[in-house]
Amino acid sequence: MKLETAVMQRFMDILENREELVNPLLNRHQVYRDMVYHRFYETLTNIYPILTEQLGDELEELIIEFQKYGARSYLLSDMAFEFGEFLKSHKGSELPYLGDLLWLEYGELLLLKKEHPKECSTFSWEFEYILSDSFLFRELRYPVYRGDFESEGSYPLMLFYDYEQKGVYFEEITPFAYKLLELLQNHSVKESIAAAADSFNVDTEALRDPVAQLMQSWCDKGVIKQLKE
């Protein structure tokens, strides 16, 4: 298979633009080169529409570089994640908002693919709740969801799956809500509220009503679900 391996490797080299084509317009290798490039381009621009706009003409060059670097996943959606990691290592220092934007755009895809059994409707202090898989949250450094890639700060954000609209939406959350979500990952509702109140120097009792409203809104969005015995 030495000959076959060499032939196939050369074909790959041509697809990765490692070899100049004599007359690309009349060369059928160019057809394959275009097809492969188009597959990457179509997938990446569908998953990362805002990033596509931000990168502009540079995207083409980055895709070609990424092809040389090599996509390893057999699923196109996982290839998009790999491209994000590639970008972070190649462009992360030039584009400080990159991590936030990739999280926002790839997070939408992740949530669309998850199963979302809606279980909770009314919040009650009598029950225990845990975080569901139907949302993601993160403290962003740049408000990329507003199209602002320059105002560095702290922007806690939640992405959630909307059952009615069958789509993913984002919502800005308060630092307190962000802290509470962080705590709920590992603690009970009461422990989380007490710890969050402590962090913000607020009396737990005073938080009872606003927290109940917040928890109800998270029930409605499927962010938390009742823990069943």
């Binding site: 298979m1 000959l3 076959e4 391996t5 032939v7 196939m8 490797q9 050369r10 074909f11 790959m12 697809l15 317009l25 009349l26 059928r28 290798h29 057809v31 394959y32 097809m35 492969v36 597959r39 990457f40 997938t43 092809q67 090599g70 996509a71 390893r72 996943s73 057999y74 699923l75 196109l76 959606s77 290839m79 669309l112 693919k113 998850k114 199963e115 979302h116 799956y161 069958k166």
Partner: protein, 271 residues
């Protein structure tokens, strides 16, 4: 093929909901398993309903059977889990490669058509079949360039089938496209394929790329008259289930159904 009879359609998310409630329904469905490994949640319920109500063939795109390296066992295990979950008995793929040394291209690339490649494919087919616990059906792919060949495409295909024992997914559109692009006779090619080796058939649309004087196997257009005629001729000697593939510019089911009904007429006339 057990459970697969008559005329089928390639299932696409674009018309999944419409098909689930349509009065005109295909005899069977073909799905691309990789597209349904992690489906969008909004499609899941209808997809599972259809999987329960139709005979299904899984037609993969990521196996890369011609790659030099051993098959990706993680991929095969995931595929087997999927096929088992939906009780899909029939699985087909392409005679091509899409990855080399672990690097993916996500396109079906042409293999060198040599005796050594025939042997290589036969070994890999065995490995894949053992891992999946199912026979592998292989499709004659379209190609725009032959990177190296010691033999004609049809001889290469027949040797792969003979040597491996696999059956063929005869893509009639691919035969047509390759015949035009590489100047051979499509009917002679089909006549050389042993009818008992054909498990099922594909037809699809293609695009004429005038700048290159080339037909492109896009699956994005309606089936052209020449391909309908070639199918009708093929059915005189090769009796097997047939399906329509449509992967790009996917129309609503209410439009595609007209092409499906035409397929049923062509198949019916050949009976």
């Amino acid at each position: 093929m057990r459970g697969i009879r008559g005329c089928g359609v390639g299932l696409r998310a674009e018309f999944l909901e419409e098909l689930a409630t349509s009065s005109v329904t295909p005899d069977w469905l073909e799905i691309t398993p990789e597209n349904w490994f992690e489906p969008s949640y909004e499609y899941l319920e209808n997809f599972e309903k259809l999987m329960q109500s139709y005979p299904v063939v899984a037609h993969g795109v990521s196996l890369s059977i011609g790659s030099i390296e051993a098959p990706d066992t993680a991929f095969l295990d995931r595929l087997k889990e999927f096929l088992d979950r939906y009780k899909i008995e029939h699985y087909s793929e392409h005679i091509s490669f899409s990855a080399l040394a672990g690097k993916q291209t996500y396109e079906l690339l042409p293999l060198p058509m040599t005796k050594a490649m025939v042997e290589h494919l036969a070994c890999k087919i065995d490995e894949v079949q053992d891992r999946l616990e199912r026979p592998l059906i292989l499709e004659n792919s379209s190609y725009y360039i032959s990177p190296y060949s010691e033999m004609r495409e049809v001889d290469f295909i027949c040797e792969v089938l003979e040597r491996s024992g696999a059956r063929l997914l005869l893509d009639v559109n691919n035969v047509y496209v390759n015949a035009v692009n590489h100047s051979f006779d499509a009917r002679e090619y089909i006549a050389q394929i042993p009818p008992q080796k054909v498990a099922y058939m594909h037809i699809a649309g293609h695009l004429e790329y005038e700048e290159e004087n080339l037909l492109l196997d896009t699956h994005g257009e309606a089936v052209c008259d020449d391909v309908w005629e070639l199918l009708a001729d093929t059915l005189k000697t090769h009796r097997a289930p047939v399906m329509i593939e449509r992967d790009n510019n996917v129309p609503p089911w209410s439009t595609l159904v007209k092409e499906y009904q035409k397929l049923c007429e062509v198949v019916g006339s050949a009976s």
